[in-house]
Symmetry: C2
Subunit: 217 residues, 2 copies
Amino acid sequence: MGRRNDHSRQEIREMALQVAEKIVAKEGLQGLNARKIASAIGYSVGSLYIVFENLDDLILQVNARSLDQLYTVISKTEQQCRQPDACLLALGQAYLEFAMEQPQRWRTVFEYQRTKDAEIPSWYRKKIFRLFKLVEKPLLEFMPTLEPHLCAQTARALWGGVHGICILALTGRLEIVGADSVQNLMELLITNYLAGLKNVQGTPCTPEEGTTQECKA
Amino acid sequence: MGRRNDHSRQEIREMALQVAEKIVAKEGLQGLNARKIASAIGYSVGSLYIVFENLDDLILQVNARSLDQLYTVISKTEQQCRQPDACLLALGQAYLEFAMEQPQRWRTVFEYQRTKDAEIPSWYRKKIFRLFKLVEKPLLEFMPTLEPHLCAQTARALWGGVHGICILALTGRLEIVGADSVQNLMELLITNYLAGLKNVQGTPCTPEEGTTQECKA
DNA sequence: ATAAACAATTGAACACCGTTCAATATGGGG
DNA sequence: CCCCATATTGAACGGTGTTCAATTGTTTAT
């Protein structure tokens, strides 16, 4: 088959991405390959390489969409809550919920590392940044005295923790008996972390309980 | 070449694992393949499949060794510390240090998922369990009133958090400027979490700060 | 209307991967 | 010394991602 002009490049790109999303959601990253995508959209492999630089590029786009959807979910959660501490807890649980409802897509986002040593593009980084921003906002309401840099650090520490629980849960390394226990872990982490924040910042440093870090600020 | 009896199967196995460890440490999981291992130990690919079920099996063994080495490091750290809170902080930092000094090996342990749907063998699970035990011990000293199950949960929440910070740091998703800032994140997470634990467990539940969970116990 | 120029599309081909197994070469027992 | 049991091989198979000469339909010029 030669020229047929059935679809524009943008359209082919869009079709490929939609198919790839479905495959990733159903079979995970392992189930995804160029020939499968190509045949599903009725084009050949060669056409994929006109529209995408390579498969890494394609997967990056799929992940970008997952991040966008995650942002939508998290953002809605953030808008619906009132008290900052309850808000942070709700954000963590929304994050966990997304991860558990779309495990394959979520895992693909965070486990996939490009083969090439190419840097993560800045537009993709921004999608991660704005997720952090959603955490920093209620955190600043919760601790208004936090200077911006420390707030960013505090948010990243908390979100790293939330993320870690999700990963260990999804990869089956938490090994917890019981149905909703991952949610409990999440609540434990967030509430204790926040309570500690309030406590440490609000009280003078006591030598037998504080370590060293908090006394400086 | 036919029979030569240069090495026993155990010896071939050992040689293969040592070579595989080096390759993983230097080039990561992506740099590892059967032919490379085979040529490095002076045998053919076929011999590898006599000694290992498949590459997944081989990688599992490599990861088991990484877990053992991690356990050694963490265990030593645990033995050297005095106060339980300082101990937990030291454990987290030792974990982070291992992850950053052996990034490829550490990532291979946690990011690799077997292709086959085969379960993780129980002897491998035990290696993960005993790592958690090292966390639960000082945690119980820190909070002697914790019932065993809640202690296990509390340890897993904390360790999930520690793990998450490591992962995000290693995959370049934290985006922190400065040298030792990941260490600071780790300290933030652990000290705040511990302070919160003490605070929440020790004081009666106040409606405006506590969420819901801690008031039940 | 016809031809020439152009561009979209293909799919065979290449180099790699994990895995298998018939063929083979050899150490050691009779 | 011969023969056999077996340790070892490596070509072969089906699967990757990726490339690019060849092909074929569309458009433009005459």
